[in-house]
């Protein structure tokens, strides 16, 4: 098979899977109970694209391959092809999406087994993979946007999956609406690019980008970044992501940790040569990334819901990636996207496994007739799970170490590379990068601390649920622990794809060689000053500093939470007082938005616009007092007054229109 048909097959398979499971499930309710069949089909429709991705990866010969499926639209001088692009960047993203996606599909077979909406879940998941593949493989902004909207839609469907709980559907709506704001900026950027370049193909945009006016470039990059802040949950649009945890845990792992939320980074990396032409906006990107990172990290310290800790951690890590993008190290951002997919995927799946176990506890308590309301996601009622769920515990610990940057684990390399790039960029005379670097160091410390906190509170110490002496959870089935182990292994070794510059002068940094423009890849990077030979000492110091920071954070949390358990939070609250309250209340973002945006808009719609309605309702009540018997009573309606109001409005329109036309 040639590359074209392979690519098209890889994209079509998830769509076919979604269509089959969705439509057959919808129209033939009997099919819904064939859970093994549904799960296997769904998984295969992602696993085969992964295999295709591997095949393409092996065959890849350093030239971007473009597959034109068909011409989507052509109007006047505008054409948009359904074109797909296979190059280093899209291949890597495709492998992450389908690889992690396939693992999470397998996991879901076990996790969702008892859910009546099993078929729907797999249909949505496959649909998501389809949309995500369009996003990363598209050859022009329009196809990318198609995927971008598609993943947003799937995210909406999956967050609201357990829609019977009103809170969940509210979370889904919030995610959708906040994302639309980002989409709007993205659309504007597309309009501007199309207006000035006449095409949305990546080749044209990236080649013609330099010819644009600086102001245009700034606007385009700024708008693209706003689009990215929506999807990738950055200040000021991050508020939807923590709420999005209302969805099933595999969804949180796949969409809200590993893949969809990183699409903003993908967009910036894809547009990297354009972004580099807007240094002012880059400053903005880096600072927003840094602020998001530290803000989310501080919030994460105060959270007790295990999934919310991970959600804020995701926001924080995404902030790290934007820091990398903001200092022009796009390939490092993608590197972190990859390692983050491994360890955060594993963490979420691990938390899912824990929730699975705690559900069991809740269930048993109910059977015994206890009137306890146990929140299976609350870490305050966990503890000591290590004994009952060893596999979950070990994999969770591995990923915790990885995300914290424990030396030689994947997160160590990727995070250190980000901090190093920030340092290097600052060293080359870009002052803001120093700020980013300092914030990054602090955030790394916080990350190590709150992640170890979540591990200790969940898996160590005493069991804190009621009747813990008799009732305890069991380890999850192999279909769930299998993916956990796979991701844990990747979380350990994934970092070796990007060995730092101190080793063999960066020659072993595979990911840089694969993606970086200096080596013929598609991802451009900022130029930094040449270093003198002695700079390697600084590099070593920074590397060791990174390791030490992680160890300090991890060690401190390990000590205090093993010693005091959950009570240590009270100590923190007392020590930090107002600051802690601010963190615990998430910096009051939601309240602020509610006051500044939601209430006024709805108020406008209800209070100002509704009088029309009330007139009409009044008219109905007054006018319909007695029923029409003959033509004669028609006259009555002329006296309700409503018609005159309408006529006055029309007259107003006439005067306005004539005024504008004659005198305008």
């Amino acid at each position: 098979m040639n590359i074209d048909s392979l690519v098209l097959l890889a994209i079509a398979l998830p769509l076919m899977g979604a269509a089959f499971n969705g439509l057959v499930g919808l129209f033939a309710p009997g099919y819904r109970s064939n859970k093994t069949l549904i799960g296997t089909l769904g998984t295969l429709c992602v696993a085969i694209p992964f295999a295709i991705g591997v095949l393409l990866f092996i065959q890849f010969d350093h030239d971007a391959h473009i597959t034109r499926a068909f011409t989507w639209m052509s109007a006047g001088d505008f054409t948009a092809d359904f074109g797909y692009r296979v190059d280093q960047l899209s291949l890597l993203m495709m492998l992450i999406v389908t690889g992690v996606g396939a693992l999470i599909h397998i996991y879901s077979i076990g996790y969702m087994r008892d859910d009546p909406g099993f078929w729907k879940f797999f249909a949505y998941l496959n649909l998501f993979i389809f949309a995500m593949l369009n996003l990363v493989l598209g050859d022009n902004l329009l196809v990318l946007f198609l995927g971008w909207e598609g993943v947003g839609l799937c995210s909406y469907l999956l967050i609201g999956f357990w829609f019977t709980d009103l809170k969940n559907s509210e979370a889904a709506n919030k995610a959708f609406i906040v994302n639309r704001i980002g989409d709007f900026a993205f659309l504007l950027a597309m309009f501007i690019l199309f207006k000035d370049l006449g095409s949305l193909d990546f080749d044209v945009i990236l080649a013609g980008g330099a010819s644009l006016a600086p102001a245009t470039i700034n606007w385009v990059v700024f708008l693209l970044f706003i689009g990215a802040t929506g999807k990738s949950a950055q200040i000021p649009l991050f508020v939807w992501l923590p709420d999005a945890m209302a969805g099933p845990t595999p969804v949180s792992a796949l969409i809200h940790a590993a893949t969809m939320v990183t699409s903003g980074l993908y967009l910036l990396a894809r547009m990297s040569s354009l972004v580099l032409l807007a240094p002012g906006v880059m400053t903005f990107i880096a600072i927003i990334g840094a602020l998001t990172a530290i803000m989310a990290a501080t919030i994460a310290i105060t959270q007790n819901d295990i999934k919310r800790v991970l959600a804020y951690s995701t926001v924080s890590q995404l902030g790290f990636m934007f820091m990398a993008a903001g200092v022009g190290a796009f390939f490092v951002a993608i590197f972190h996207v990859m390692t983050h997919a491994f360890f955060k995927g594993c963490l979420f799946l691990g938390s899912g496994s824990v929730i699975h176990g705690m559900h069991e506890v809740e269930h048993q308590l109910e059977e015994e007739g206890h009137e306890v309301h146990l929140d299976p996601q609350d870490m305050r009622t966990m503890g000591g799970l290590r004994k009952y769920m060893p596999a979950t515990s070990i994999t969770y610990l591995i990923s915790t170490l990885a995300i914290a940057g424990f030396p030689l684990m994947s997160g160590f390399f990727s995070k250190d590379e980000i901090l190093f790039k920030a340092f290097e960029y600052g060293y080359s005379g870009n002052g803001y990068a120093w700020f980013v670097w300092v914030v990054g160091i602090i955030t790394a410390l916080l990350t190590a601390f709150y992640m170890m906190r979540s591990y200790v509170l969940t898996f160590r110490g005493k069991e804190r649920w009621p009747n813990a002496d008799r009732i305890h959870p069991h380890e999850s089935p192999a279909s769930m622990t299998g993916p956990l182990w796979a991701l844990a292994v990747l979380a350990i070794v994934g970092g070796f794809l990007g060995l730092p510059g101190v080793i063999a002068h960066g020659d072993l940094n595979w990911i840089h060689h694969w993606l970086g423009a200096p080596y013929g890849g598609p991802v451009a990077e900022a130029v930094v000053a040449e270093h003198e030979a002695s700079f390697i000492v600084v590099e070593w110091i920074l590397l060791i500093l990174g390791g030490v920071i992680a160890l300090v954070g991890l060690g401190y949390a390990w000590r205090v939470y093993n010693r005091d358990g959950i009570e240590f939070d009270q100590k923190l609250a007392i020590d930090f007082r107002g600051l802690y309250t601010t963190w615990a209340n998430k910096y009051y973002w939601d309240e602020g938005y509610d006051k500044a945006v939601v209430k006024p808009v709805l108020g406008l719609a209800r209070r100002v616009m509704d009088p029309f309605d009330r007139y009409i309702v009044d008219g109905l009540v007054n006018g319909l007092g007695s029923m029409v018997r003959a033509f004669s009573s028609l006259f009555k309606y002329l006296q309700t007054g409503v018609v005159q109001n309408y006529a006055v409005a029309i007259l107003f329109g006439v005067v306005l229109l004539l005024g504008l036309i004659i005198f305008g």
Partner: protein
């Protein structure tokens, strides 16, 4: 000068009659004012040598339609409206907007046309308003719209029947 003099006389009476129709509170006098207005317009047609139009105007509007109006008014025994006591906001806004519209249109027309055009000889206009000329245009050039007006009237008739026949509820 005669046509212009006639024009202004007729126009002033027509406008007065239109206002009278609006202001009158009794439906019958309102209808009578309207008849006066329609006659004045017919007179205006005559000054422009459009005899056919003038006759049709009187026959159809002042004759048939107004008689129907009066029938309906009498049959229904519509009482006179109470005299206007207070002016509500609608009236005020409507008045202001109406004056604004009038000003706009007056400006537009006054700025674009010659207000006192040179007199056109009667002979040249005679040819345009006769039955023969109107009929020829109507049945050649505008035959298709004429046929469609047939459809329009048919639809209106059906509609009237449809709306009126369900006198008793199910």
């Amino acid at each position: 000068m005669t046509p212009q003099f006639l024009f202004f006389c007729l126009a002033i009476v027509a406008i007065t009659a239109a206002l009278g129709m609006l202001i009158a509170r009794s439906p019958v006098s309102s209808a009578l004012w309207l008849i006066l207005n329609l006659f004045c317009v017919a007179g205006l047609y005559l000054t422009m040598n459009a005899q056919f139009l003038a006759v049709v105007q009187v026959l159809v509007y002042a004759g048939a339609i107004m008689v129907l109006f009066l029938f309906v008014i009498m049959l229904l025994n519509v009482a006179a409206l109470p005299s206007v006591r207070d002016i509500d906001w609608r009236l005020g806004v409507g008045f202001v907007l109406g004056v604004a519209l009038l000003a706009q249109l007056s400006y537009a027309i006054a700025s674009s046309t010659d207000l006192m055009p040179a007199e056109v000889s009667l002979e040249s206009t005679v040819a345009t308003g006769s039955v023969e000329v109107v009929a020829k245009e109507l049945f050649t050039r505008f035959a298709m719209p004429l046929e469609m007006i047939g459809v329009l009237l048919l639809a209106a008739t059906i509609g009237a029947v449809l709306l009126a026949r369900r006198v008793s509820p199910k």
